[in-house]
Assembly symmetry: C2
Homo-oligomer: 308 residues x 2
């Protein structure tokens, strides 16, 4: 029997993967202590794409030959750096974009139709006979999508069923069923609701800036299902507090878990704990791709879903 490859799981919230990997691999868990004695054995790192890659650790693993990213996004991973070291990177694309789009629509409806605040109102006894919460109809609202990839397209299709008008912007023009705005600023100016659905990387950190939030405006709603870093979070908080921005609904944050005191006095806000893609089917799909990529790699075959 040949020696089993050793793999190292980096983030604690990926702990449930251990049970699926132990039949084929020796599994180390970084949060149980750095695997100093196993440094020469570890051949693959299993990481969450949003976590910054620990380059110092990698330099201490001489036989590391794969970065296996469990998620679709890999914004924490310096792909150029990995490439320069001959380290291939795999990820899990196209698995949970429908779920993320479902959640994005849930955030739009929860914010616009006051479902989260309405629930609080009923439970606190603030609903009185004379209370009337009148909101704008979803139908006819202009939806701007930042990044028309798998997720953006899935959001657009759902939005049409709600009779919203869809347009989008991304840095690269491409053929699409929906019109592309000339710029992100133009998209924000023209939109009632802006959904951030782009891939996050170093090039778009803080893309949703104060200027963009001001353009979206005092009746506007910002939804983020991409990554926290794409939005200037301090500018967002200031814009909600001043009323320059109408509402926000966020599934992702610069630091996760986000510090709740940061949001305590910020009005017109819906917050979810990075659950947009966290479905049973989505997680199973990511697990299948992870195992397929590990198997292919250790069999000397091409990765099933390498980072392009």
């Amino acid at each position: 029997m040949t020696q089993r490859p050793a793999v190292l799981i980096m983030q604690r919230h990926l702990a449930p993967l251990s049970g699926f990997l132990e039949s084929a691999y020796d599994v180390y868990r970084f949060w149980e202590g750095p695997p100093i004695e196993a440094a020469h054995d570890i051949r693959a790192l299993i990481v969450a794409g949003e976590a910054p890659l620990d380059k110092a650790l990698i330099e201490q693993l001489p036989n590391l030959s794969l970065i296996a990213c469990f998620t679709a996004g890999y914004d924490g991973i310096d792909i150029e750096w990995c490439r320069s070291r001959g380290l291939p990177v795999s990820h899990a694309p196209g698995v949970n974009h429908e779920d993320v789009a479902d959640h994005a629509l849930g955030l739009i409806l929860s914010a616009r139709r006051q479902i989260v605040s309405g629930d609080r109102q009923v439970r606190s006894g603030e609903w009185k006979v004379e209370t009337r919460n009148i909101t704008a109809s979803i139908g006819g609202q202009k939806l701007g999508i930042v990044g028309l990839g798998h997720i953006g397209k899935a959001v657009a299709k759902r939005a049409e069923a709600f009779r919203m008008t869809v347009s989008w912007w991304g840095p690269r023009p491409h053929e699409a069923e929906w019109p592309r705005a000339d710029s992100l600023l133009a998209l924000a100016k023209a939109s009632d609701i802006l959904v951030v659905a782009c891939k996050a990387d170093e090039s778009n950190r803080g893309l949703i800036s104060r200027e963009i939030l001001d353009a979206l405006g005092s009746d506007g709603l910002l939804v983020n299902v991409s990554r926290g870093q794409v939005v200037d979070e301090d500018a967002l908080i200031a814009a909600l507090k001043s009323g320059a921005l109408g509402q926000a609904a966020l599934d992702v944050f610069i630091d996760e878990p986000t510090d709740p005191t940061r949001w305590a006095n910020v009005p017109n806000l819906v917050l979810t704990p990075h659950t947009a893609g966290a479905t049973t089917a989505g997680v199973q799909g990511m697990l299948v791709l992870l195992i397929q990529n590990l198997q292919a790699h250790f069999a000397g075959e091409p990765l099933k879903t390498p980072v392009a």
Copy 2:
């Protein structure tokens, strides 16, 4: 100048209508005290359809000639009794069904993707590194619609964009794009999510009984955007507490505003304060129909939207 007709607004939450009616009518407000001195002048009653009609009052208004229901639903109005007294009834159909359907989808997504509970989790600091809320995908869930009228059809169209499978039941078979279940019980058994979207009347009080909730089951979600009385609320509370029913999301209640202590210890529940149809466009549409019906009636012309 002829004498202006007098109208009586019955429910306090309809108070904002006064401003739109005073240019053409003498407006009385019931909650300011019974209009004893004007009893002979009052020719139309303006009512919310969910409120029980005050028959004793009506018998004291000898010149009353119209019940103008502001809403689409008129479940509080005994239509047969009105007919037997020669009292026509108008209402506001087809105005806000798209908004109600939007809200129904918002309730489905809020409950199924844990948006309301997720918001509480983030704000309370319960979101930890090791927290993972995994939910089922919306896609592939079986949606059963009780009552395939304007609202039910609008719910079905949206549900298809979320890749749900749609079927329905109503007491009367009719042509539809979606299959009709043999019975409500069969629909509940076959569904993951049951949306109550039927017209409420005396025939369907308590229709969603303990038996139906049990059939929907421990993973099932009940959504009510119809009227509170259609659901056996005590059975619903018991089913949620015992786990016989998975989740519920309610916009309507037997008593409104509902007593929050009634729901305090009931798990897996989203509550909104009867806002499904309460949009700017919806309210404007209802107002336009109210005014058109009053004008037609006092001009001796057929009502624009009589209750069928």
